[in-house]
């Protein structure tokens, strides 16, 4: 009898896991009508949840942005531009996109946009497709801002040559519209063409003339007489200053 009892106990221990898994749920079963109503409500809530999630995702995916770009290509309702970082951007145009140009007639549209035109594009940027659905397209002209050092002053022509860090030289026309300023004693004060000195650090804001990318009409010239010139800018006068001598009194000038 004892043996039977022990074996029964072992069997109970061994099969306890399986029996517990098969134990039916003790929760009371709801009435069939209540169940269907709950199911319907649950489905509706889930649908609503999905809709909200989808809308949130959509809103996160699209944001308002504005870019400046030079037109590369116009094709139907698509404009391809190159932005300020030389990146190609795709612009989509639809029936509610508004076009404007200060120099154009009242009816200005996509057909009037030609390659090379600079545009300001405000619209909805899709982070996924990286395309902009344009809402406002305006033809603009942006000034050029150059920083460097004054390498040449032409008193007759009223021009200054500005050499930049990358070795480029710009001729800046100083005209009546040009405001010349200087930064002295932590203050920006008025200055003039006569005060500009060769080798001075300068920042120029101006507009390039058509077909001349290295010549601009200065709208503002800001001089920094108290600040050191960029060491990366080597002016022609710097090399001219060092004249090697043979030691016998004869001056050797370098062959150019």
């Amino acid at each position: 009898m004892k043996k039977i009892f022990i074996s029964f106990l072992i069997l109970c221990v061994l099969f306890s896991g399986t029996t517990s898994a098969q134990t039916p749920s003790l929760t009371p079963t709801a009435k069939p009508t209540d169940e269907t109503t709950t199911q319907k409500l649950s489905n509706q809530i889930n649908n609503l949840k999905e809709k909200i999630a989808s809308r949130v995702a959509q809103l996160n995916l699209v944001e308002k942005r504005g870019i400046i770009g030079t037109v590369k290509e116009v094709d139907g309702t698509k404009i391809v531009v190159t932005d300020l970082n030389d990146k190609t951007r795709n612009i989509d145009v639809d029936e509610i996109t508004k076009f404007s140009s200060s120099s154009a007639k009242a009816t200005f549209g996509i057909s009037d946009i030609k390659p090379g035109t600079k545009l300001s594009i405000l619209g909805l940027y899709n982070k996924d497709s990286e395309r902009i659905l344009a809402r406002f397209i305006t033809v603009i002209s942006t000034p050029l801002t150059i920083t460097g050092a004054v390498s040449k002053i032409d008193d007759d022509e009223f021009t200054i040559t500005v050499s930049t860090e990358n070795g480029q030289n710009y001729i800046v026309d100083v005209e009546n519209i040009t405001r010349t300023l200087e930064y002295i004693d932590n203050e920006v004060v008025k200055s003039g063409f006569s005060k500009i000195e060769t080798g001075e650090r300068v920042m120029v804001v101006g507009y390039t003339q058509s077909g001349q990318s290295s010549r601009l009409v200065g709208t503002r010239i800001l001089l920094f007489p108290e600040l050191l010139r960029n060491p990366k800018i080597i002016l022609k006068t710097d090399t001219d200053e060092i004249v090697p001598s043979s030691g016998s009194g004869k001056v050797i000038t370098p062959i150019r």
Binding site: G66, L84, L122, G123, F136, Y183, L222, L228
Partner: protein
């Protein structure tokens, strides 16, 4: 006699379970992951950084290509504390000195549509660093 039968059946169950467990263990041992399903892990040595001077100018706001509904915006950022900051737009230039921890902030008026803001940091040794931001103004909702 009855008790013997029960014990025997119990022993048979135990043996059966052991045999089944053994067979399952052996089956698991023979299982091999096909090479196409195996994910290869490669450890790459970190790329040698190109020697270049770290950027000493950053713009916190505005974000590039941001659209504003007001024409007066704040331009803020961080640079070297001894630098001179020039904030320039097509209409105006502002020259400021950063705080002791290098922070700077200026308010600037922008034009219609898109404006390019240039932030120039001039360091005491004459070096400079320049960053630009395209900012936009529109009063229209879209």
């Amino acid at each position: 006699m009855k008790s013997e039968r029960i014990i025997l059946s119990f022993v048979a169950i135990i043996i059966g379970l052991l045999v089944a467990g053994g067979v399952f263990f052996l089956y698991q041992l023979t299982k091999k992951l096909p090479p196409e399903k195996a994910q290869s892990i490669s450890l790459k040595s970190p790329a040698t950084p190109t020697p270049q001077t770290p950027s000493q100018l950053s713009i916190l706001q505005p974000q590039d290509e941001e659209i504003f509904s007001k024409k007066t915006i704040t331009i803020s950022g961080k640079t070297s504390p001894d630098a001179t900051i020039v904030v320039s737009s097509p209409t105006d230039d502002q020259v400021v000195k950063p705080t002791r921890n290098g922070d700077f902030s200026v308010t600037h008026t922008i034009g219609d549509n898109s404006t390019i803001i240039t932030v120039l940091s001039i360091f005491p040794d004459g070096r400079e660093e320049k960053l630009t931001r395209t900012v936009n103004y529109t009063s229209e909702e879209f």
